[in-house]
Symmetry: C2
């Protein structure tokens, strides 16, 4: 290794400032192609290799952040079937890259605390998506590794967090259906865990029903994992029960999409025979037929905020922890119809 | 830092072998929970932090591999809107994790060669998806960094590569339509670049038409980027031209999905008024209505093979470079109809 070649050597060789060389290597500022060409030629000639690993051992900063993504099951693959994760990861990577950081992705080992991983990998900080309080994941905070939680409700100690108001989201969805005359509304969700987003959305659904005097029945509630196949399965279960519902509130778009497919395969038309509202506003929901009415969360903004907050935390480790809550709205497309009069029809 | 605490200290403290401690830290072998508990307790007690960065400076191996994903445009976000990338990344991460490797993801800077990035990040190897020969990306091979190309046609020098036979895929799709009586077939694709997958698929389409004596017209061919919106746009363009086609071969499922939406919005029924065949067999294609008939490629297998090949290359740097070509089949769902008799209808 040419340990003695430094940025200053490159600058001298090319006649530009060390700052310019640094900008080019970090990609942080727009520099003319001509200058870039000269600098890269000098780098080649002098065989300069900027080693972040070597540097980070002395300065601590690795410009490397870890993103922890939930798995389908312990030891399973990452949950990319739910396009929410692709969309948020895309936003995280883009914002991080813009700010000069690179991304490390991983599932969460069942035994391995992220604390160890962060130190082994010399990560500057961590963004963890969908962590549950009971997972033991949060021992990480003791390590002092900067951390931003996305979509987690962890009350025991203060964390930097970005999330939505999931209770309100569940309420919004059910309220949208109630306002259009639906009274018998099924609820499809992922597994409900204490203080998890699915539980919060479910509580919002219950609150809306109660407020409007609509019946709540335990048989209206169907929970499984969050993927297309489970949406199909829950819809088939609902059809099998012969419980008369006129609408489904699905706590994730992928469940709604799977359910819509199963209803359609069973000869039920959406929204004429059954209405569906989803949750997330994944990009795909506007390209299916009929377009899915859904609770929109700002997925890209969530990713961007998480990175901003993390970098702030990296730069100012002592700053106050805070939670940012992003807005929700209903996007109306074609999957929900208004029931006429007071005669609700059902399946 | 407790520099003097080693794996041997942990082993002594817990009464297990150093190999067992190492297995637990690498997650490479199944060890009983009881042993794990003891070992993690000792790690905690002795404040042992296995630093991969520190280790990798001496042994070279970082157990860290980089995955380079195409961007929507130079400097833009990663192409996760095309779910192909989420699906293949999921498979890559899973296989890598199983083999004790972690994943670094990045777009490709326009100026920054991956060669620099790999050395800066001390990556053991790189998987690069969708690289074009004219991009200059392949200067990386000179660096000796183990590399596997996915979906690239780079003939100048030998590389490890995993791909499909894109020409054959384009042929299969068009042939499927021709065999069902379609003669006037539009082709929707991403931008066609020299030796790129889209160009190969296009050539396959042309070959099938020529073989069957079906007309080829330049006005049948529509190219744009590969996302939903471009599928919508291409379909609207096609409708606007009033060229009588009875079917569309879309060289990517996301284009097919966008096109199906636009046709449907324009009052055209699929497949009664127009047939569509896609390419990829993304998970979503079986959950839309009508289900999309498409050329299936084994996306998860592609990711797995890429990791296997890369790790082989990391372990045996001198071994012969090879290309692995994965199989293609047509999955028939409901988006293509058979034309009766010889009277072809069109838009």
């Amino acid at each position: 290794m040419q340990k003695n070649v430094t940025i200053a050597d490159i600058a001298r060789e090319t006649g530009v400032s060390t700052a310019t060389v640094s900008y080019i290597l970090n990609g942080k500022k727009s520099i003319s192609s001509k200058t870039k060409e000269k600098v890269f030629a000098a780098i080649e000639k002098l065989d300069y290799v900027p080693s972040i690993n070597a540097r980070s051992l002395s300065t601590r900063d690795s410009f490397h952040i870890g993103v922890f993504i939930p798995q389908t099951e312990p030891g399973g693959s990452l949950m990319f079937e739910n396009m929410f994760y692709g969309e948020i990861l895309s936003a995280i990577e883009y914002e991080a890259r813009t700010q000069g950081y690179h991304i490390f992705i991983s599932g969460r080992g069942v035994d391995e605390s992220c604390f160890y991983l962060a130190r082994r990998r010399n990560l500057d900080g961590i963004i963890a998506i969908g962590v549950y309080q009971d997972e033991g994941f949060l021992s990480i905070e003791d390590s002092g590794v900067p951390l931003v939680l996305v979509d987690s409700y962890c009350n025991e100690s203060p964390h930097n967090a970005v999330r939505i108001d999931d209770h309100y989201g569940g309420y919004l969805a059910a309220r949208f259906l109630l306002d259009r005359g639906h009274r018998n509304i099924a609820f499809f969700s992922g597994r409900q865990r204490d203080n998890g987003v699915m539980q919060k959305r479910f509580e919002g659904y219950r609150q809306a029903l109660a407020e409007q005097g609509a019946p709540f029945r335990q048989e209206f509630v169907f929970s499984q994992n969050v993927d297309f196949d489970d949406g199909v399965m829950l819809a088939r279960k609902l059809i099998g029960t012969h419980i008369p519902v006129s609408a489904v509130s699905a706590a994730a778009d992928v469940l709604a999409i799977g359910a819509a497919k199963a209803f359609s395969d069973a000869g039920l038309r959406i929204p004429q025979d059954i209405s569906i509202i989803g949750f997330d506003d994944l990009r795909i929901t506007q390209y299916i037929t009929p377009g899915l009415t859904t609770v929109r969360q700002e997925i890209a903004l969530k990713g961007k905020k998480a990175v901003e907050m993390l970098i702030e935390n990296i730069r100012q480790p002592a700053s106050q922890k805070r939670t940012e809550i992003l807005p929700l709205t209903v996007v109306e497309r074609e999957s929900v119809r208004t029931l006429e009069g007071s005669n609700q029809e059902g399946l």
